[in-house]
């Protein structure tokens, strides 16, 4: 087929009245960063519902002592699949999806640098996730029954060795997550090259929106952190299939080696997940405070510092292992050190709010929810950095409460903020504000009711991953409160689902720039055309739309 023929075919494929099959093919064959972004986020939200269902089942089981809603084996599968799903199949795709959609728009580019690699990355993620969930039907457990992985989301050795994990459930975990990991690496490369090479004229590195800076550092972290996990997974496959003994302690292997390799990925992964949350609120808070972000250069420096330090804190997950006091002290110090640049960001967001004309629209409410809850999660993180304290509460519900304040109170709240903020650009329709506020308050109450009491039950000694408990431990009230909180969260998610579906069909038209915002994505139509911008924009400051709207008082005079 000649080039011209293909061009004509391309024109025809966008003709109106296309059949369902044609439209389906359009999505499968697309390399448009926006469609891929939408698919990433949609898939992530579907996995979020699945992971949420798994969590709800666990909370039902734990709501009262001695319940038997699920058995111990199924409970093991539930927490394994819940953790794996939320980290690898919800957090990662949503952050990559939002970056896919908005990085090119924010830097005035027409697409990512490698559009086909981008599509490859998405499909790898999706097929990896589907392969993992196929384990429910395909994996042969100890008794020849299908079962999903049950070794926990960090799959500690030697539990994952063939001796202790018979059948294929752990293999599905390795292969599914490994394939998804390749997809993440592909997209990470793409983001780095795009940000370095595809910026529009005038957009120097220090004129990039903070969103782009944060996604840049995030992509670098992905590039550094994912390969060790993949390598460890391949080593584990060798152990299980070829009789290697990397992690097999019975044959001289080292379980600590797995812990080191996993957490060398696992802790940067926390920052891979939370940096995009910082990115979203760094765009949303200024717009809804009607002020420029406070301390842009310091925010960039703090981002780089967080990225750097996050690579050197992984041993704090292993304090209870019995490492030498010197090693513990070093990693306690580095873990506390990372609170410094994170604190700088907190102060800068507060300074942005300070004296601003604050508009409490739904994206802002979720951003403020992020600020308060992430702060609490960060503070309990500093508490856990103290080795003696960590020894006391390691593997207890205190830790569960802590990381949910970071990843749910932080990441998920910021994702909802981002959806309320940017969905009008993606769909061309506004989400309903009233329903959005119901969504926020129900989730805010439900979240704090669920995860706040976990700190108390953890302090009272409740270990994580137990499927039931006796009635005389003093944990009943706290577990009941946690489970009641889930009901609020389910109601909130129902409000959100209705809001999104309703807005897609009946939502108010958004217009090009519904929030009177300042970055380049608002300079094109809603939804944007395939080519993003008819003419590549030229920028002079970090807020190009501000300059357009205020020709007498442009930002570039002050940067």
């Amino acid at each position: 087929m000649s080039t011209m023929d293909q061009k004509n075919q391309g024109l025809q494929s966008h003709a109106p009245g296309a059949t369902f099959a044609t439209r389906l093919h359009e999505w499968i064959a697309t390399s448009d960063h926006k469609k891929l972004g939408v698919m990433y986020v949609t898939a992530g939200l579907i996995f979020f519902l699945i992971g949420g269902f798994e969590a709800s089942m666990m909370r039902w089981q734990l709501s009262w002592p001695g319940l038997n809603v699920v058995g111990p084996e199924e409970f093991n599968r539930l927490f394994t699949m819940h953790g794996t799903t939320m980290v690898f199949l919800v957090g990662m795709p949503i952050l990559l999806g939002v970056a896919n959609y908005f990085v090119p728009l924010m830097i005035g580019a027409r697409d990512l640098a490698f559009p086909r690699l981008n599509a490859f990355g998405f499909w790898l993620f999706l097929f990896g996730g589907l392969l993992l969930y196929y384990s429910y039907f395909g994996a042969q457990g100890l008794y020849g029954m299908g079962s999903s992985p049950d070794v926990g989301w960090f799959a500690y050795a030697p539990l994952t060795e063939k001796t202790f994990s018979r059948g294929h459930s752990t293999d599905y975990w390795i292969l599914g997550i490994g394939i998804s990991g390749f997809g993440s690496i592909a997209t990470g490369i793409n983001l780095i090259v795009t940000i370095l090479c595809r910026r529009c004229p005038g957009m120097s590195l220090m004129k990039m929106p903070l969103f782009v800076w944060l996604m840049f550092i995030d992509a670098i972290l992905i590039m550094i952190a994912m390969p060790p996990l993949t390598a460890a997974q391949v080593m584990l496959l060798f152990d299980r299939w070829l009789g290697a003994q990397f992690f097999d302690t019975q044959d001289g292997g080292s379980a600590v080696l797995w812990q080191n390799l996993f957490w060398f990925f696992g802790h940067p992964e926390v920052y891979i997940l939370i940096l995009p949350a910082f990115a979203y609120v760094s765009e949303i808070i200024p717009v809804f405070s009607r002020k420029v972000i406070f301390g842009y250069p310091l925010m960039v420096a703090a981002t780089i510092a967080i990225g750097f330090i996050s690579l050197g804190v992984w041993v704090h997950h292993m304090f209870a292992l019995g490492l030498s006091p010197m090693v513990n002290a070093i990693f306690m110090g580095s873990t506390m050190l990372i609170a410094v640049p994170t604190g700088m960001k907190m102060f800068n967001w507060i300074a942005t709010l300070y004296g601003g004309r604050i508009l409490l629209h739904t994206p802002m409410l979720f951003s403020l929810g992020f600020l308060t809850q992430f702060l609490l999660g960060g503070l309990t993180g500093v508490m856990l950095a103290v080795v003696p304290f960590d020894w006391q509460v390691s593997d207890s519900y205190f830790v569960v409460g802590h990381f949910h304040y970071v990843l749910f109170g932080g990441l998920v709240f910021s994702i909802f903020a981002a959806i309320y903020y940017w969905l009008p650009k993606v769909s061309g329709r506004m989400l309903d504000e009233k329903i959005g506020k119901w969504h926020f308050w129900l989730l805010f109450i439900g979240f704090n009711l669920t995860f706040g009491p976990m700190h108390v039950s953890g302090m009272l000694g409740m270990p994580r991953r137990i499927y039931t408990y006796q009635a005389d431990r003093g944990w009943e009230l706290w577990n009941l409160l946690s489970s009641i909180g889930v009901l609020f969260q389910i109601a909130a998610i129902l409000f959100f689902t209705y809001n999104v579906l309703n807005s897609l069909f009946r939502g108010k038209k958004a217009g090009d720039d519904p929030w009177d915002a300042w970055t380049l994505e608002w300079a094109t139509t809603s939804p944007p055309p395939e080519y993003n911008f008819k003419e590549i924009p030229v920028v002079h400051s970090r807020r190009p739309l501000w300059d357009e709207k205020h020709p007498e008082d442009p930002d570039w005079k002050y940067e």
């Binding site: 293909q6 061009k7 494929s13 392969l131 294929h168 217009g511």
Partner: protein, 282 residues
């Protein structure tokens, strides 16, 4: 000779070039997944996956060699023109060249310290009145406060808690003084940030949240202490502190921040010709 000479570009239709759609990445990814899935299902799945991977890779190669396959996207309606706004960023007082980033006037930190001290005194009076009414003793609340640090006090009987103890009194004084000043200082910094009803925030919201947190955690921190606290008086004392400290801070005259100073003034350089602190340079 470059490859472009073999493929002369045809005349461009109206539109913008974008990458042509291709199913090769999908095929490659699906193939790779089947290769892996075959390891845990049937070897034939791996073979099929491998074949798909090769087909996808060849298709992908042909997509980008010798030239990227592209299609033309039709130009659609453009965005609406941006209309200029009239709003302007506030300037620092008298300095047209400098934008105001954060409020230029704040309550002095000393307002927080003094507010905290006065609020702490009034709070202590309310707590003591509560002790007197409930237990007929001036020292009950004082002894309970000291129990947050002193070991053994919390397990005393009500009669023992109603007696004066020099150690408890000194410890309670130190705790009350430090906490009152610290919380007052935090109030002094945060209250100016509250956009509306700062007194409500200081007098109701914070005391209730603090009381709620204390109620929820006291059973873990100190179970014995939990049985001896009169919660109504506890909340009343907290609210009194909030009202007094908040009112004091809010009614303190605001002062200008260093934003108004020039760089030379901030670093403390004194020289003839440099204006006084806060004085306009224009």
């Amino acid at each position: 000779m470059s490859s472009k000479e073999f493929h002369p570009r045809p005349p461009q239709p109206e539109g913008i070039e974008i990458p042509a759609p291709t199913s090769s990445p999908f095929t490659c990814a699906f193939g790779l997944t089947l290769v892996a899935a075959g390891l845990v299902t049937q070897w034939v799945v791996t073979i099929i996956g491998f074949m798909l991977l090769i087909i996808g890779a060849i298709g992908w190669f042909r997509e980008v060699h010798p030239d990227d396959q592209e299609e033309i996207a039709r130009i659609q309606r453009g965005p609406l023109p941006i209309t200029p706004r009239t709003s302007k960023v506030k300037r620092l007082m008298g300095q047209e060249r400098h934008r105001q980033r954060i409020p230029a006037m704040i309550h002095p930190y000393s307002a927080g310290v003094w507010g905290g001290i006065i609020g702490g005194v009034v709070m202590a009076i309310v707590a003591t009145i509560g002790s007197l009414i409930e237990h007929g003793s001036l020292w009950y609340a004082c002894n309970l406060l000291s129990a947050t640090i002193l070991i053994g006090v919390e397990s005393q009987t009500v009669e023992q808690l109603s007696q004066f103890s020099t150690t408890s009194f000194v410890v309670a004084m130190i705790i009350q003084s430090l906490m009152s000043v610290l919380v007052g200082l935090i109030y002094g910094v945060t209250l100016p940030m509250i956009p509306r009803f700062p007194l409500l925030f200081a007098a109701v919201f914070v005391p209730l949240v603090w009381s709620g947190l204390t109620w929820a955690t006291i059973s873990v921190i100190n179970p014995l202490l939990q049985d001896n606290i009169d919660w109504l008086w506890f909340i009343g004392a907290q609210i009194t502190y909030g009202i007094v400290t908040g009112w004091w801070i809010i009614n303190t005259e605001k002062i200008g921040t260093m934003q108004n100073w020039s760089y030379l003034e901030r670093v403390g350089i004194e020289s003839p010709g440099i204006p006084e602190q806060g004085e306009s340079d224009e």
